[in-house]
């Protein structure tokens, strides 16, 4: 099996207080450390585990600036054979534009594959869309929120998708296809610093995004960045116990965890 895995370098913003600059023009990430997108970590691990069984190779691809090489080295340390960087300094907010770029790249470089793996979403944009758009553009079957790959055969995959409320759906998908991986599908191995250093010795190919921009137009416009409405501490459900409990159940319903 030849598997292509997309992996993205994202800012680790979970712990940070983010600042918007230039009256909504940008978000200041200058002091924020970067890391591999959590979903992609699982997706690289899954792809590597599959080729360990079926044979073949994993190629990791990242779109971003030169720094994104870091996530390629990491993927190689985990077991990918190659790393391709599609280099661009631009932030592509539109997942459609990103998918077009990938489509052009795969076609122009005629990269062979049996399946394409992406994460369900990236931690920063949270669009959850590149995999689906790409699949549709390539005219390939698509399956997302994959929490288990039960079988990976020469012509098809049996996958389990995570639905809501503990329910899962088992589907059979014909190869080649696009698979978007959900976190928790496996326990990704630890990648040591020494491992990454060793992986640096494997050459990564760099491509210029500018060469693959045919038809790549952004169909959505990022107008402005704003802060969400401030939630100052916990909202206390007060009053009579029965009322508070009913309110609590209402919240559970709203969050979709209780019907």
């Amino acid at each position: 099996m030849n598997l292509i895995v997309f992996t993205k370098r994202v800012p680790a913003t979970q712990e940070e207080e983010l600042r918007i600059t230039g009256e909504g023009k940008a978000v200041d990430l200058s002091k924020v450390p970067f890391k591999v997108n959590d979903w992609d970590n699982y997706s690289v691990e899954e792809a590597v585990r599959i080729v360990e069984k079926t044979g073949g190779a994993v190629t990791a691809v990242s779109i971003g600036d030169a720094e994104s090489d870091e996530v390629l080295r990491r993927a190689i340390a985990m077991g990918a054979k190659d790393g391709f960087l599609i280099e661009t300094g631009d932030v592509l907010h539109d997942p459609g534009a990103r998918a077009t770029l990938i489509q052009n790249f795969l076609k122009k470089e005629s990269v062979p594959f049996d399946a394409i793996f992406t994460g369900v979403q990236s931690e920063d944009d949270q669009f959850g869309a590149v995999g689906g758009i790409l699949a549709a553009k390539l005219g390939l079957p698509f399956v997302s929120m994959v929490i288990s790959i039960d079988a990976f055969e020469s012509d098809h995959v049996i996958a389990r998708r995570e639905l809501e409320g503990g329910l899962q759906e088992r589907v059979k998908v014909i190869l080649p296809c696009v698979i978007s991986i959900q976190t928790g599908i496996n326990e990704p191995r630890y990648v040591s610093i020494m491992g990454v250093r060793k992986a640096s010795k494997v050459e990564r190919k760099v491509f210029k995004a500018a060469d693959y921009q045919e038809n790549m137009v952004s169909k959505i416009e990022a107008v402005k960045w704003v802060y969400p409405p401030k939630k100052g501490g916990a909202t206390i459900l007060s009053g009579e116990l029965e009322g508070a409990c009913k309110e609590l159940l209402g919240i559970l319903k709203e969050k979709g965890v209780y019907q």
Partner: protein
């Protein structure tokens, strides 16, 4: 005719409540709303509900009136919720009815899967996880960086566009129309070969993994003693939550080690983390602070957990438990 198309998610015969948020956004956009839904009376469906809004309807009001048109699709639900078939359904529908202004899905497992595929297939603009809309400026709000920042987005191309809507965001805007909906039907469209539904799988109880649970009921030293555990188990059962705990509860062997949340236990990120009798020590917080929604019940208003919680109840946890049991049973 200008209209908004809402693709309804009906799962195992139940019309999901989050569809109302999709309908609500369209109402807020002042669109004529067409609801695309699997035909419930289709003999292929395993659990045909009595109304398009689920077996019991929704909270007593007639949901049909929330939309102008209901387009019933003669197809099994699992085929309908398959992105490969959805593009065929949408195409057939557009051929007969014309292109909608906007196609709206729920931001759920299937909603995002369908939306991205439809957007890619028809080459349409896509904005996902929309949780707000400013009508005057015609911008949609979308979460970035786990809700730390919102991006304001606008479509930048002609023709229809695709949206997924965060649940709980627009429900209140869904209001009843004065006239009953027009019912239409679609039946002839291609069924794709590339992906096939096999079966639904319920998560097995034996392999409970608190890191995968969507809803955790977590108990702390505040529960007092082991004899209280069965009642919390009962509560978790009724709420369909998974029981977890802080370290002292595990130490005393009131719950197994695999249920421990925290630095030396498991790091969890459920949709809802309901903490009862947990103070919120650093080691505990580290394991659950990234949960989407944290609800804390503690008798001490100064307990650090309230600094991290979104909602809180200051009360005796046993009383809250008993009241919840009563409400749930009654």
């Amino acid at each position: 005719m200008s209209y908004a198309l809402v693709v309804a998610e009906v799962r195992r015969g139940v019309f999901e409540e989050r569809n109302l948020d999709a309908i609500g956004l369209c109402a807020l956009m002042e669109k004529d709303i067409s609801l695309l839904v699997t035909d419930n009376n289709n003999e292929m469906n395993q659990n045909p509900p009595s109304s398009p809004f689920g077996k019991e309807g929704l909270g007593g009001f007639s949901g049909e009136k929330l939309v102008n048109t209901i387009i019933k699709v003669k197809i099994e639900e699992a085929l309908f919720l398959n992105p490969l078939n959805m593009v065929g359904v949408v195409k057939t529908m557009m051929d007969s009815k014309g292109k909608p202004d906007v196609i709206v899905f729920t931001h759920s497992s299937s909603g995002t899967e369908l939306a991205s595929y439809v957007a890619g297939y028809f080459d349409l603009p896509l904005i996902t996880d929309v949780n707000g809309f400013d009508k005057e400026r015609d911008v949609f709000f979308k979460s970035y960086y786990s809700d730390k920042i919102f991006g304001e987005f606008r479509k930048a191309a002609q023709g229809p566009f695709v949206i997924t809507v965060r649940s709980g965001s627009f429900k209140e805007y869904a209001v009843e129309k004065t006239t009953p909906p027009v019912i239409e039907t679609i039946e002839d469209f291609p069924i794709a070969e590339g992906r096939n539904f096999m079966e639904y799988v319920e998560e097995e109880k034996a392999e409970i993994d608190i890191t995968k649970a969507e809803f955790l009921l977590s108990v702390g030293r505040g529960i007092g003693n082991k004899d209280e555990i069965p009642d919390y188990e009962k509560l978790a059962d009724l709420l369909k939550a998974t029981l977890s705990g802080s370290r002292p509860v595990i130490d005393k062997m009131w719950l197994p080690k695999a249920r421990q949340v925290g630095t030396s236990g498991k790091t969890v990120k459920p949709k809802v983390y309901l903490a009862m009798g947990i103070s919120g020590a650093f080691q505990h917080i580290a394991g659950m602070k990234d949960s989407d929604c944290i609800i804390a019940v503690n008798k001490d208003p100064e307990a650090p957990i309230f600094q991290y919680a979104h909602f809180g109840i200051i009360a005796d946890i046993h009383k809250v438990r008993d009241k919840l049991l009563e409400v749930l049973k009654g």
